[in-house]
C-alpha cells in the first residue's frame, strides 16, 4: 500500500460526495414532480409517454398496486429480452453473424439484465450482436436501474407521509428515473468516455496487421453508450468478456476513476435525496457514515491483501513490492484495482477491472463478503437504499429489545409486521446463496464447471451464487457458467435475490405509509447520532458474519491458511 494509492482512493471518494449532494437535491425535486432545469426539454416527452401508455401521472398507487405494476413491467422486460436473444440470428446489426443463444443462456441473460445483476455466462464480443447489445442489454441497463430507484422512492415516501394510502405511481417514478436522471448522465459521461478512448462505432471488428506481420482482429462496437449506463445504473454487464479490465471499456486511470465515480454517484445521491424527502438530512448523513466505514474497510482489506502478493509469485523471484498483479492491468495498478473491486461489490454493480478469481484469498474474500452484506454500501441504484433501510429497521428493533421500548424509525413505529417482513427479506440472501451452493458442491454437473481445485473451487461456487442472489454480476471467472445447471440455477438465484426481496420490502412500505408520523420525544432513540451509526454497522456485520462465516471459513479462509503453508492444488 502506498500513500499515493490512498490519495487516489480519497480523491475519487471526495469527487463522488461533491457531486452527490447537488444531484441528491435535484433527484428529490424530480421525484416530487417539481420543475427542474431539464423540464423544458423533457416534460413534453414525459407527457407524451404517459398519454401513449394510458398513465395518469396524478393518480397514485398503493404499495400493492405499485408492486404489481413493477412486476408486470419487469416480466414484460424478461419476455422481450428473451425473445430478442433467441431470435438474434434474424435481427439486424449483426455484422459478425452470431446465431441465437441457447434457451438456458437466453433465460439466464434475460433475468440477469432485468434484475440488475448483469451476470454474464457469455463473452460479449463472441456471442452478442450489436443489436442485442443496444436494443436488448443497454435498454435493461436503464430500466432495471430505474426500477430500483422507483422502489426506493416509494419506500422513502412511506416514511415521509403520515396516514397515507398511496406511495406514488410506479410508471411515473420509473419514467422520471430514466428521463431526468439516467439518460442525461449517460449522454454526458458517454461522450467523456469516448474522448478518453472508449470506442463508439457500428462496426464490430477492425482487421490489423501487427508490427510482426501477424493479423489481429480487434473487436469494437457501440461500447461507450453501454459503458456509461452500465456504470451509472450499477448494472455492470460488460460489452466485452473481461468487462472493465478491457482497454476499450476502461482505457486509462482517468477513465477508471470516472467509472468508479459513475458507479457510486447515483446511489450516494439517492441517500441525500432520501434525507431531503423525509425532511431530516441528518438521517442521511448517519446512513452515509455507516456506509463509508464498511466500504473503506473493504477497500483497505483488499488493497492490503493484494499488495502482500502470494508465495507462488515470491517463489518465482518476483519483486515483492509489486504485489499480486496476476489478473490486473498495469495502467491501474494495485490501488485502483482494489478500490474498483470493493466498490463494485459494495454496490451491486459487478463490473470488474481486474479478475477477482486471481486475487489473493483475503483480497477475494472482501468483495465476496461485501456482496453477502446485501450490497448496501451504498448499493445498487435504489436497491442499495431500500436494503439499507431494511437493515436500519432491524437495527432499531435490536435497540428497542435492549431497552424494552417499541422501536421507532423516522417517526414511524416499527412493529411486528415490519420486523417480520424485514427478517423475511434478509433471509432470502443466505437461503439462496447457501442453499444453491450446498447442492452445487456435491453435484457432478455443477462441479464440472469449476476452473480451480481445492478451497478456491468452493470459493468459485459461493461467489457465483452470492453474485447472482445479490444481483451483483461479478465472478470468480474460473467458473465456466455457460451450462444448463449453472445458467438455470444462477437465473433462479437472481430472481429470488431481486423480487423475493422486493415483495416483503414493499409490504413494509405499505404498512409504514398508513401509520401516523410521530414527532420525536425525549424517549425516542435518535437515529442520526454516532451511537446509531455504530449500531447499524454492528447489525450489518454481525448479521452477515453469522450467516456466511462458516461457508467463508471453508473457502477463502481455508485457502489463506493453505497458501501460507505453501500448498497448491
Amino acid at each position: 500500500m502506498t500513500v499515493l494509492g490512498w490519495l487516489q482512493i480519497a480523491i475519487i471518494l471526495a469527487l463522488v460526495l461533491a457531486a452527490a449532494v447537488p444531484l441528491g437535491g435535484y433527484m428529490a425535486r424530480v421525484y416530487a414532480g417539481e420543475r427542474t432545469v431539464l423540464s423544458a426539454v423533457l416534460a413534453p416527452v414525459e407527457r407524451g409517454l404517459y398519454r401513449l401508455a394510458g398513465v395518469d401521472p396524478a393518480r397514485e398507487q398503493g404499495a400493492l398496486a405499485y408492486t404489481l405494476g413493477m412486476l408486470a413491467f419487469n416480466l414484460a422486460g424478461v419476455v422481450l429480452l428473451y425473445a430478442l436473444l433467441r431470435l438474434q440470428g434474424l435481427l439486424p446489426f449483426n455484422p459478425l453473424g452470431f446465431g441465437a443463444l441457447s434457451p438456458d443462456l437466453a433465460f439466464n441473460t434475460a433475468v440477469s439484465f432485468v434484475s440488475n445483476t448483469n451476470w454474464q455466462s457469455y463473452g460479449g464480443e463472441t456471442t452478442m450482436s450489436l443489436f442485442s447489445q443496444m436494443a436488448g442489454l443497454t435498454v435493461q441497463n436503464f430500466l432495471s436501474a430505474a426500477t430500483g430507484l422507483a422502489l426506493a422512492v416509494a419506500l422513502t415516501r412511506a416514511f415521509a407521509r403520515s396516514n397515507a394510502s398511496t406511495v406514488g405511481n410506479f410508471f411515473v417514478d420509473m419514467t422520471r428515473s430514466v428521463l431526468y436522471v439516467l439518460l442525461p448522465l449517460a449522454i454526458l459521461t458517454a461522450l467523456v468516455q469516448v474522448a478518453m478512448g472508449v470506442p463508439q462505432t457500428l462496426d464490430a471488428a477492425v482487421a490489423a496487421t501487427t508490427l510482426e506481420g501477424a493479423s489481429q482482429t480487434i473487436a469494437v462496437g457501440p461500447v461507450a453508450t453501454q459503458m456509461a449506463i452500465k456504470q451509472l445504473g450499477t448494472n455492470g454487464g460488460g460489452f466485452f468478456n473481461v468487462n472493465a479490465a478491457h482497454p476499450f471499456e476502461n482505457p486509462s486511470p482517468f477513465a477508471n476513476a470516472l467509472e468508479i465515480w459513475q458507479m457510486l454517484v447515483i446511489s450516494t445521491a439517492l441517500v441525500f435525496a432520501f434525507g431531503r424527502m423525509i425532511g431530516d438530512r441528518r438521517q442521511a448523513r448517519a446512513l452515509l457514515a455507516a456506509i463509508a466505514v464498511i466500504l473503506v474497510a473493504g477497500i483497505a482489506v483488499t488493497y492490503w491483501a493484494e499488495a502482500a502478493g502470494t508465495p507462488s509469485l515470491l517463489a518465482a523471484g518476483i519483486d515483492p513490492a509489486g504485489g499480486n498483479m496476476e489478473g490486473k492491468e498495469v495502467r491501474f495498478g494495485l490501488a485502483a484495482s482494489s478500490m474498483f473491486a470493493a466498490v463494485t461489490t459494495g454496490l451491486s454493480d459487478g463490473a470488474v477491472n481486474a479478475m477477482h478469481g486471481s486475487f489473493t484469498p483475503l483480497g477475494g474474500l472482501a468483495p465476496m463478503f461485501l456482496i453477502q452484506l446485501g450490497e448496501i454500501l451504498p448499493g445498487g441504484n435504489g436497491s442499495g437504499l431500500y436494503g439499507l433501510l431494511v437493515m436500519a429497521i432491524i437495527a432499531v428493533f435490536v435497540a428497542g429489545l435492549m431497552v424494552g421500548r417499541t422501536p421507532e424509525y423516522l417517526g414511524k413505529k416499527i412493529e411486528v409486521a415490519e420486523v417480520k417482513m424485514a427478517i423475511l427479506a434478509v433471509l432470502i440472501l443466505p437461503c439462496a446463496i447457501l442453499g444453491f451452493s450446498a447442492v452445487a458442491a456435491v453435484l457432478p454437473d455443477a462441479l464440472a464447471g469449476l476452473g480451480n481445485a481445492g478451497p478456491h473451487g468452493l470459493s468459485e461456487i459461493i461467489y457465483a451464487y452470492s453474485s447472482a442472489a445479490g444481483n451483483n454480476g461479478s465472478a470468480f471467472g474460473g467458473l465456466s457458467a455457460n451450462s444448463p445447471w449453472w445458467n438455470t440455477t444462477l437465473g433462479l438465484a437472481m430472481l429470488l435475490g431481486r423480487f423475493a426481496y422486493i415483495v416483503p420490502m414493499m409490504a413494509i412500505a405499505g404498512s409504514l405509509a398508513g401509520k401516523t408520523r410521530l414527532t420525536a420525544s425525549s424517549g425516542t432513540f435518535p437515529t442520526h447520532g454516532l451511537l446509531f451509526v455504530g449500531l447499524l454497522v454492528g447489525v450489518i456485520l454481525i448479521l452477515g458474519g453469522l450467516q456466511f462465516f462458516p461457508a467463508l471459513a471453508l473457502g477463502p479462509i481455508a485457502e489463506q491458511v493453505q497458501m501460507l503453508a505453501g500448498k497448491t492444488f
Binding site: G54, A72, L143, A190, L191, P199, D319, E326, G451, F476
Partner: protein, 197 residues
Amino acid sequence: MLTFLRPAATLLVAFTLITGIAYPLAMTELAQALFPTQARGSLVERDGQVIGSSLIGQNFAAERYFHPRPSAAGNGYDAAASSGTNLGPTSAKLADRLKADAAALRAAGVTGPIPADAITTSGSGLDPDISPANALAQAARVAGARGVDEALVRDLIAAHISGPQLRVFGDARVNVLALNLALDAAAPAATAPAPGS
C-alpha cells in the same frame, strides 16, 4: 394485472426505442463527429496500413522488440476474445507457469527481482502496457538484437514512460506498441524483415 399490461408494454417498447435505438445511434453520430479517432478504436497506422490500436496490446516475440506481458486472450492478444487466466492464488498450474516464465526471463539475461507485471497475465489479456521496470529489464536484449547502444534504447524507454495521471491516478507505464514503433524508427534493425513479409 391486466390494468398494468398496457402501461408496462407501451413504456417497454417506447424505452427500447429511446434508450436502445435512438440513444446509441445518435451518440454514435455525435462521437464520430467529435472524437473520430477514439470512436473508431484509437487505431494506429503505418504506411497507410492499420497495424493495431494504441489501446490494445499485441504479440511481440522477436528479440528485437519489447515483449508485452503474457496473455490469456485466445492464443495470446486475441483482441476478439479477451480473457484472463482466472487462476487462483493456490493454483498449481499458475505456480508452474510463473516458474517457467521466470526461468525463461533468467535465460534471456534478466537479473535481479523480476518486475511484477513481467510474468503475470493481465485481466484482459490485452494489456497494452508494461511497467518501466519491465521495459528496462528488456533493454539489453533489444539493444543486442538490433546491434545498437543500450543507452539509446534506455533513452527511448525514458521518453515513453507515462507517469500516473496528475501524478496520482494509476501506475507508471510504457505502451509497448508505441515504444516498438519508436524503436523501429530510431534504430531500424539489420534483421528487420522486408516490408510485407
